[in-house]
Symmetry: C2
Subunit: 574 residues, 2 copies
Amino acid sequence: MTLKIALGQLLVESGHPSVNVQKMKNMIAQAKEDGVDIIVFPQMCVGGYFLADKWYSSEWRKELLFYNEEIAGCSDGIGVVWGNIYEENNIVFDAGYYAHNQEITYIQPKQNLQQTGVYNDGRYLTSQASNCAFVFEKDRQQHILGIVVGDDLYNDKVMERLVACDYILHIESKPWTLDDENKKDERVATLLPKVYSVNAAGMQNTGKNIVMFDGKSCVYEKGIRVCTLRDDFAEEYAVCDYYDHSKKYKLLNCLVRAIQEFDRQIMGYNPKWIIGLSGGLDSSVTAALLTMALGSERVCGYNLATKYNSQKTKDNAQNEADALGIKIRNGYISDIHKATTETMHIYGYNDEQMPTLVHENIQARIRGNVLSTFSQIENGVIMNNGNKIEVALGYATLYGDSIGAMSPLGDLTKVQLFELSRQINMKFEKEIIPERLLPVVTENELLWEMAPSAELKDNQYDPMKWFYHDWLISKLTDSKCNVEDIMESYLDGSLLQSEVGRWIKHYHLDEPKAFIDDLEWVLRQMRIAIFKRIQMPPIVMVTNSAYGSNHLEIQGTWDVTRRYQELKEKILAM
Amino acid sequence: MTLKIALGQLLVESGHPSVNVQKMKNMIAQAKEDGVDIIVFPQMCVGGYFLADKWYSSEWRKELLFYNEEIAGCSDGIGVVWGNIYEENNIVFDAGYYAHNQEITYIQPKQNLQQTGVYNDGRYLTSQASNCAFVFEKDRQQHILGIVVGDDLYNDKVMERLVACDYILHIESKPWTLDDENKKDERVATLLPKVYSVNAAGMQNTGKNIVMFDGKSCVYEKGIRVCTLRDDFAEEYAVCDYYDHSKKYKLLNCLVRAIQEFDRQIMGYNPKWIIGLSGGLDSSVTAALLTMALGSERVCGYNLATKYNSQKTKDNAQNEADALGIKIRNGYISDIHKATTETMHIYGYNDEQMPTLVHENIQARIRGNVLSTFSQIENGVIMNNGNKIEVALGYATLYGDSIGAMSPLGDLTKVQLFELSRQINMKFEKEIIPERLLPVVTENELLWEMAPSAELKDNQYDPMKWFYHDWLISKLTDSKCNVEDIMESYLDGSLLQSEVGRWIKHYHLDEPKAFIDDLEWVLRQMRIAIFKRIQMPPIVMVTNSAYGSNHLEIQGTWDVTRRYQELKEKILAM
């Protein structure tokens, strides 16, 4: 007789054990009705995983531990497995708990501290090696079960101790990223016991990042995934289920849920979301995401025109607002711009001292001010529109277009936005994001009807080398990548042969000096822009190199390495 | 014959091994001239300690390791001890090196990973336990020396292995805070060997914090400090020296050096520093610090008057600028304010929808915009003026007065600013900070000639309960403190008996409901203000509870603990 095991894929709300435990109780009650033997909940599901220095509060930890008794109290006639801290003499562990018949009979601490990316285990938690199995008796047959917490799954020493188990119950709270999608399947493929892996769903945050949990709890038999729960970042209780995973929309789902949960958990009062609608791509995508997440009533668009805004982009903005059914208010900021220029005169600065770039930034910051004012009047929240390429290069005016309460696109390259736009149009089954904002890529050309522009002066176009810079910045923000390796592959020709090679040629960077000049411009911009990123809103993390808590930076300059210098000289001598 | 040991208290520049190693070479040459046996440099002195994810770059680590050979190459006839990483199969240690006669003969890895506060060792480094001694022969006599790296000094197991040593060479890179001033003396008091403790000097940063190293390298004999180097955050080479430590100015020195080093290392081009001079206390102190750090030529003050600014504060600003010899430009922002209000009308908002608070924030952000514009025209950098109480409570307008490249006062309470102001006036030997901005505290009263005000509307005064809130916020940002303990001490009467009790009575918070209402207001403001802190400039850390990398926070709400609820009910029933 095999065990009937239920998966409690909880949407864990940080800081709210009362809410989480109530939902656990409801699921336990359901499981009892379903004749379930054991129900499994995620790692750190009582109070959330990412709590920053709240972990230092002994009162808070005491509060979390209190709930263990509450949960155990519901385990009459059913086994319950869940994650919470365990504490002994002020030493704190990340642990898996097992209770049965109102008694906690097994506690499994985590051995592998998670310390990279957004994780900060070492600051709060202690590592502990220990045995890993308990017994569940059903119809006089004994089943051996092991609990594995979080990344212990990837620790060979931990897993060796579990070979004799009949079942492995893996509990985790794993922020989703595009990079890690198949990591667990590959790992479990090597395991013999039946594996029930339960992940959290929903959103938590680290201050500088909003991290999303896709759920996607699953069951493996002989290493094969035989059952998968919802992977759209939502809660689910299931004994075993199969969910249709159209991976196509995963990123889109992630962003929509991120907005929903941020709005619900952090804001909590159903505010209006304020967005500057320029008619450009980034704000169009953001407005569409907001509408998908919260409905058109909750979104307020504003067109903040300057004399440089083309009728086309104004039309784009209006058309998109109409298509989404959101209200848009139109106006212009030129009077404030004029008053600001005159005020500069009062302070003794003349027009010669104010070249175009000064006026571009003045206008961007005026937009920041009026959006903030709209937001205050509407008792609303401002949404940031920037993408990762802008964030990386600092192509945004601090206190201007860099403002907002959250940044849903700040970990996506522009190229990822092109694909996302097409998905949004597919979902809506109409042209929400104007097709004319998307490039057409032919064999030899990159065609734009309307190339990306900040429209802060005449005939201004963004200086980014799209497709190539998208690739380059993804590389350079990956902690495993050294710029020297990119240079090496340029030198030996393999870079030009690779997929990105066509774009390097497209932008004439196959000319060595142009390549080096461009590379050093990107490196310099990325370095200087750190001071802006320090003051930018929290970014929704979708890769393992998201700026914020995932990719940590300091301000300052760096010596050039010897190898860099050597490679640069060799390239220039090509 | 005892050994002649020199201390190389290096001002370590993050990211610049070429600079650091050149200075080490110069000191080694000097030490040779002085007939020194061994010269000791700080922990991680080759490339800096706080490098964030640059530690992940294998190329960068290779570059740092290259310099070990360079340093060893200078050790002919002299022993050299220094700190750098050590790497084996991609496992990285924080290590102490010893080279003699051009050969590295001893490497001491650090055992204790530093993981709290601004430290993040566990993300990049591995812990290693090992032996801790080497031998130096002089005049046929053998001396046993141990190297201790960083916080290993506080690890009993590490120190036990060193009891047989004649000398302990302690190398550290320890960010200074007010809290830790005497920690090392207390620890070393228990040690028998002669201890040479060498610390770094200068500034490094963690992104969100600017951390300062006071130096204060020292020599202990039988646990007694017998020699101390400069503790004013500056570099020093000394065989043994005694520096006059007038602790009185330590905090002032820290802030002045922080500005100097941030300006030199991070900005690097001698920019003008832009500061809004309102005539209030915080901006007065900041202007004085800037002038002390960089000279009056480098400071540009701007008075950004609204109709609510009193003649008195304008006079303060002018008088202070005159006293400091800095240029001040006067003007007003009312035209921009008017244009902004009218633009709101264009967008369909009427005056009834814009209560006073909306206008206060509009004006604050206009100041943000014009200061940013001044800064761009002058090719300058904006200085933030906010203090820790404002940062904690969010008493600043985001994108308005919260802006800037660095925040020198963001970890100081207002009460600390009062003392600092008096020190500044003493240093200048004249009234730089207007005395009328400082309160007079008598037995029963708190007297202000000019109480703190943002002057954004008529008769507006800051809502903070000075002295009490300063104390409360210092407590609440300390990770070891639970709010429940404060409530407990209110309940049992000990809080009212304590030093802060007089202020609790002064503000009539000895009335239980008033106490709870005020406490919950503070807690709520501190929680809501996190979204602002996420977007604020880097703060100079002067305590162990500095916002930024030292005191980590997430956004969101929290369940109230059972004990909190209980205590609150008991207090309200008092």
